[in-house]
């Protein structure tokens, strides 16, 4: 998958399916990226995606999963700040999968 179309616009992806240009991201792009992996984004998904995008805006990095889990717990409550909850939303790994849909780079330190 090197590129796909959303609303008539061609979006370039890297070899792992992350956006080449972070500025290409729109909510519609997120929906399309998720759909390509048979995921339908719910409001619970969006809560995490929006959180990640805000984190990136503030710190210029996608947080490691451990950091994401802790920060989500602080912001959205302990019932969401745990890996069980996050993996239930993003079974391929909350860092990797959520950052991909959120139009962010792969988290640093993520192998």
């Amino acid at each position: 998958m090197a590129a796909f179309e959303v609303g008539g616009k061609t979006i370039a992806l890297d070899e792992e399916g992350y956006l080449e240009n972070l500025s290409d991201w729109t909510p519609e792009v997120a929906e399309a990226l998720a759909k390509a992996e048979d995921v339908t984004l719910t409001s619970e998904h969006w809560e995490i995606l929006n959180f990640l995008r805000e984190y990136y805006e503030e710190y210029q990095i996608a947080p490691a999963v451990r950091v994401l889990t802790k920060a989500v717990g602080k912001r959205l409550g302990a019932d969401k700040g745990n890996s069980k909850y996050l993996y239930s939303l993003f079974p391929y790994g909350p860092g990797k999968q959520a950052c991909k849909y959120g139009g962010l780079p792969k988290p640093t330190g993520c192998v």
Binding site: E58, Y59, Q60, I61, P63, V67, T108, G109
Partner: protein, 134 residues
């Protein structure tokens, strides 16, 4: 995996070479592997954590906000050389306010920057198990 004391020594200005950015990437990776990570800023390295950086004119990403995330990664000790600051006409007020939340103290916000002179820096280095210089 055993935990070791890692020190990353940053001696170069933030832009112009890729050393500072690469160092920060390795720092974040080390912390993700739950190592005990500290940073030192010496020579032009002190410029990496100065306030108000704007890299627009040189077309490089301003990555200085990422230093503010270090507390989230449990990196809470940033040693800064007082001599290096003074030689450049800088004081601690020219540096970003970098803090962490102390989980052992009801998440009180505490400063991460520790000003040290040469002797203190040397003593701190002697306690490290792995030192990486950038």
């Amino acid at each position: 995996m055993s935990t070791k004391n890692f020190l990353f020594v940053n001696r170069k200005a933030p832009y112009g070479t890729v050393y500072a950015l690469e160092s920060l990437e390795v720092v974040l990776i080390s912390a993700a592997f739950e190592q005990n990570v500290s940073l030192a800023f010496i020579d032009d390295g002190v410029y990496q954590i100065t306030k108000g950086q704007n890299s627009k004119g040189i077309g490089m990403k301003n990555f200085s906000p990422t230093f503010r995330a270090l507390g989230d990664y449990d990196i809470t000790k940033l040693y800064v050389s007082t001599e290096s600051l003074a030689e450049r006409g800088l004081t601690v007020d020219d540096l970003m306010e970098l803090t962490y939340e102390d989980a052992d103290d009801d998440y009180a916000e505490k400063p991460s920057i520790i000003l040290v002179n040469r002797e203190e820096m040397a003593a701190m280095m002697a306690e490290q198990e792995v030192i990486l210089s950038f």
